[in-house]
Amino acid sequence: MTHPLKNHFKITLFAFSVLTLFTLFLSLSLGSVSIPIKKILEILFSRLPFIGRFFPKHIDAHARIILLIRLPRILLGLIAGIALAVSGSSMQGVFKNPMASPFILGVSAGGAFGAAVGISFGIPWLLLPLIAFLFAMGTMFTVFFLGRVRGSTDISTLLLAGLAMNFLMTALTSLIIFYGDPAERMSIVAWTWGSLGGTIWNEVRISFPVILLGSAGVYAFARDLNVIQTGETSAKQLGIEVEKTKIIQLITSSLLAAVVISYTGVIGFVGLIIPHASRLLVGPDHRKLIPVSALLGGSFLIICDTVSRLSGGLWVGVITGLFGAPFFIYLLLKNRGETGW
């Protein structure tokens, strides 16, 4: 198999960074109120440290729309895309299978249930990501241990366990909202399909540092993940503690998915298709795969959410699902009769 962008990694990374920035600005310029590009740039640059003084400062309705409505939503989309894609890359590396992802393994649904529990018990919003993380991690390890057959992971058992947990957690989330607050029943749909609507700055402020650090944490083990791919015995020979690496990766990837999910609800398939697409582009080396996945995931989710905004509020998970489900079927067909990739 050839990977078109395998060489010239630095150029590739630069190109994807530019792509991400471009998507960000494009999305920022689209919405139900039209604002000239020049003004958007002025609004943004006037807020930056040091260079800000050279740009006119706007404090009108347009500035509020850009800075208080569009920008936090787009930044949360960016960071959520990064988190889900990195989480997916990590899980696919750990399970050596392209079908593993936080959504497919039920981890996202577990996180959503945790957040719903937190909300219905009136836990302060600051702690929501934490309780979502605990539930996501619980789901992750339940699925992980259900998928263990005689000391090694059986991928079809793992996927089926994930399916079961996904249904269970989604059902429990709906149950707790349905009987918790009848007025909030419509929000079941938002929790199941994910929405970036009504994002506030504090959500961005919490998720940015946590997700950037978490992603760096996954990246720090990129080399170990590479070695695990070549076989666990050879990894052990090289002095890598396979089980420990796996567990740290699973905890970190649950954290990444959970923080996002506690603010947006379940957004499926980003963690599935983005790592896979990135692997097709730059090859299976996790040191290249993880940064490219992150950038691609961020841009992809921003684009999907822009479609969501412009369509009058179609849930973003519906759009990622429309892209993702056919892709999943393609992977299933391609992998029939094979284990791993």
């Binding site: 440290p49 309705a61 729309i65 419509m186 402020r205």
Partner: protein, 340 residues
């Protein structure tokens, strides 16, 4: 060597994360808190949720969220201050030309911010808008928007907000008097003279009906009816078996349900219901009937007509209602002449 390199890499990563986070943290700056300062606010009002809202002055730019609020504001003759309405606000006609800002499930916050309103008028049922709009520095006043008494108090609340208290009090008094006049002979009827009535508000996922606490329940009672769903709390569902068991003499539903309802009334099990037997199924304008606004007078008149002239056997319910209205007006003017 390997270790030093790793620490260096970690150091750079952490520094990068900190810088990016700091920028993200400070980007919105002071803008976030614009409009929430209270230093020059002179007008403090307590809204229907008990929240104290302070405004600089009576608002000149209002976004009205909910059709009943729009109708009440126009009734107060402050319609020209409305700069935007929700998607369902379609009355009076002037409201149709105003910018639309979405509905309660999908609010177009960008549009609201762009309209630069001094205040957004919401109802108790949609208070989730309040938190979100506060984030953008926009103030909200919530009306009750649920019971018949809410109509009068909402009118006075909005009057206070707009600086037209006297007019609001007059209008609310006027509404009260009109309502009393229409229901003069019907509201205190004894139980045995009351007509068992079922109001069907929707057929989504079963039969929906207004129960205790809704203003429709009050209107039905004041019109001399007995709402067979009045033991239910608020907006609720009623089983078909319950309907058959409670045997309503009259069934009332909005026009748009005419076809849906036929599916029910053609069933064998429904044939023994008195209302079906006597063909006492009436259709009404759902906007008039479902909004706790100034058109409750019209709603009340319609219900009194349907319930008190039920014995007239007319196949066209629509015509019947219209005819009876004119008759009512003639009757009441005669009465006034006699009284004078």
């Amino acid at each position: 060597m390997e270790k030093a390199k790793m620490f260096f890499a970690i150091g750079i990563a952490v520094a990068l994360v900190l810088v990016i986070s700091a920028v993200v943290w400070s980007l919105p700056g002071a803008l976030e808190f614009d409009g929430s300062q209270d230093d020059e606010d002179s007008l403090v009002i307590e809204d229907a949720t008990g929240e104290e809202v302070s405004l600089e002055a009576p608002p000149e730019r209002i976004v009205s969220f909910m059709p009943s609020n729009t109708e009440l504001l126009f009734h107060l003759e402050v319609g020209e201050r409305i700069v935007g309405v929700d998607d369902f606000s379609n009355h009076p006609e002037e409201a149709l030309d105003l910018p639309k800002v979405g509905d309660s499930l999908e609010v177009d916050y960008e549009k609201i911010v762009d309209l630069e309103p001094d205040v957004v008028v919401i109802t108790e049922a949609v208070t989730h808008l309040r938190e979100q709009l506060k984030e953008y520095g926009i103030k909200t006043v919530a009306t009750g928007g649920e019971t018949l008494e809410d109509v009068y108090s909402d009118l006075e609340l909005l009057g206070e907000m707009c600086g037209v208290e006297e007019r609001a009090e007059e209008k609310s008094q006027d509404l009260r008097e009109k309502m009393d006049e229409i229901t003069d002979e019907t509201r205190d009827l004894s139980d045995e003279k009351r007509i068992d009535v079922l109001y069907i508000s929707g057929t989504y996922d079963g039969i929906n009906t207004p129960g205790d606490g809704t203003f429709q329940d009050t209107l039905l009672t004041n019109a001399g009816g007995h709402n067979i769903a009045s033991d239910k709390d608020g907006w609720s569902q009623i089983d078909e078996s319950e309907i058959i068991d409670r045997d309503p003499e009259v069934i009332i539903a909005p026009y748009h349900l005419e076809q849906d309802l036929e599916e029910y009334t053609e069933k064998d099990s429904w044939q023994d219901i008195t209302a079906v037997e006597d063909n006492e199924i009436h259709f009404v304008d759902s906007d008039v009937m479902s909004r706790p606004g100034p058109r409750i007078v019209e709603a009340q008149e319609t219900l009194v007509e349907i319930l008190q002239n039920g014995e007239d056997d007319d196949t066209s319910a629509d015509q019947e209602v219209k005819m009876d209205w004119t008759e009512l007006r003639i009757n009441s003017s005669k009465k006034m002449v006699v009284e004078a």
